[in-house]
Assembly symmetry: C2
Homo-oligomer: 427 residues x 2
Amino acid sequence: MDDTVAAHAQDHVDDARLQQAIADLAAFGARDDGGVSRQTLTPIDLAARRHLIDRARALGCEVGIDACANLFFRRPGLDDTLPPVLTGSHADTQPVGGKLDGAYGVIAGLEVIAALNDAGIRTQRPIEVVAWTNEEGSRFGPGCMGSSAFVEPSRLEAFRASTDGDGVRFGDALDAALGDVPDVPRLPMARPMASCVELHIEQGPVLERANVPLGVVTGIQSVRWFRVTCMGQMAHAGTTPMDERADAMARAVSLAHRLYAYVAAEAATQLRLTLGRWLVAPNSVNTIPGSVTFTIDARCVDEAVLDRFEQALHAAIAEVRAPRQDITVEGMFRQAPTHFPSSMQALVEAACTRALQQRGLGTPIRLTSGAFHDSMYLAAHCPTAMIFVPSRGGISHNAAEFTDAPSLLLGARALAYTVTALAYADR
Amino acid sequence: MDDTVAAHAQDHVDDARLQQAIADLAAFGARDDGGVSRQTLTPIDLAARRHLIDRARALGCEVGIDACANLFFRRPGLDDTLPPVLTGSHADTQPVGGKLDGAYGVIAGLEVIAALNDAGIRTQRPIEVVAWTNEEGSRFGPGCMGSSAFVEPSRLEAFRASTDGDGVRFGDALDAALGDVPDVPRLPMARPMASCVELHIEQGPVLERANVPLGVVTGIQSVRWFRVTCMGQMAHAGTTPMDERADAMARAVSLAHRLYAYVAAEAATQLRLTLGRWLVAPNSVNTIPGSVTFTIDARCVDEAVLDRFEQALHAAIAEVRAPRQDITVEGMFRQAPTHFPSSMQALVEAACTRALQQRGLGTPIRLTSGAFHDSMYLAAHCPTAMIFVPSRGGISHNAAEFTDAPSLLLGARALAYTVTALAYADR
């Protein structure tokens, strides 16, 4: 590929403008501790959406919205009949999040458009920057509703029935959000896209540990969620001899201990295990637990490793189960792994390499995303890629989330190169 | 001892009257499932107190109340200047309890008085039947407030500040209860008592397993409560490699596993371990736990065994502690074991033996109480003893709590013998 134009676009990414735009969006829901509280479709999210619409229009973009309130900021192409190159991410946050998760990808997408404008580059294909609705899933479950429904519109009906902690339906919040932007034309769902590139903070420690500011994402881990319930018999902690007990917590600890040991023995496979949510009944100091429920979040890039883990889970349950102490396991959720096309990875690698080498910073590394992203759904719709920048301490979903400005600039430069290369010619 | 008079009293215990009295009291707070809800100082508890006052007066008793609303039903002695023999228990229940826990001891005490009346026996010492306030501790913590404050009145001030789930102060509930019985004269706290005998259901499986309907309680187990906090670092379940994690739950499970193993190895000592209450933060499926707190309830009759357990706990913590993962342990409560005087045990054994042998049922067994009782505090005040009857399935603090009528009768007969023997002569 002749990368002259892509490199030209990359060199027009502006550090000060990028930082200012991140700060401007972070003002919507800003917290005293430096964090941001901007859950999806709340009044502060609607205000942030209006801010993004204004910013995009100032850059010359056409703005559209679809039935899931996904916002699209479009820079026309020379041939507007061609499917666009899509970039962006989401602008909603966890109840307490940082300034970058999602927001960075949206702002960097708009910065790419600003850079193209400054460079005087016209691309063959249109470029669209998207702000997906409800990636976080913290107010309305599940997460990634916007990208999921865009790719498969039939999912929207079930999403509309989801309610938040106050009993508000997602569908009603959606209708209010759509009514809030009567000036924005409606776009169809599932429109063809030429390709999609998402820039995001890593939310893990791999890049920081490797001391490399840019990562080429190869794909997204597979995940399986289970709910394990250990039954026992509630009884008095003082009066019940040990050999008379049906202690649900003793069973749960025994099972959990086996699972941690199994995963430690499988360290080479990069299998990840989290036993994150525990419910104990009656949860009293002096009562033997009558039931213990805990969740399993198991992730790996390799489905076969997860298959083996699932077999080991059932074997461990069979070992631990005791008379009067049934243990049940139910699958809550499973998501197959996402593998981004190698051609898309190669393009992102070239973009990252140029951005790094201009600063004498070596080459990017390849890594898998441990977290879900909207790109997981887009990968089923069009050739998709992701670029990561480091997260200090691997911390995210937290006011302490942080990436230094030079890394954020490098990420936006790599994105500009990638998007321009994809959009410049009708390939 | 010439047991003629004690045996005479024992033989006048009336099965039908006892069963009726148990049913009459159980009507206060009766539930559809057969259980009883009569938490301390609730309106239903105050109504039950009035019922007991009326019943005691009908039996010729003088009724008094002290500053902790403990109710005393007094059968005068030939020498009323002598300290009385005390029996009884408590009439409050857990939020969901049975008909017998506490209530049985109070009703059986009144049955002893009825039997003495029927037998025409006058005792040298007065006999008092007590209904202690707030033994359960479920509405206002801690438990055994009434007996604890009776023995050590300086404790009452702190108890009065205790609040229930609705913010009601124990002191205010107490004042209302005292105001509810203006016809009942006030008695001083910490009055001298000649001795104390409490009849109670076992709340454990030992008597049922031994198929023996009466047990001589040798004492009450020692207990130590600890709160263990395992610290970690909250992080994303997907993005954080296993070797980068500071998973508080992995530490907690490792520690708990060691504690269960230690106690299993110490089975011969009858050490009992319950890890009953768990708090996990943030308790989310896909977030690595940042902190896990769990409680330890460790009990044994042998203080040396608990000393060794505490050493083993600290050793296990030292093994499990990891960088960035501190584990702290704090003592929440400790109660030394209660040992009832051998002379009191011998008298109870004689009483139980006679009751059993009349029915051809062999001899009682000796056992330790795993649960706390008001007698734990009384033992510091006067020579004290306890008698147990079996609990079906060891179940208590539950609507399913049950003891068969023949066993309840045997218990009341053993109590009548014991109380009469203690009160008849000025010994």
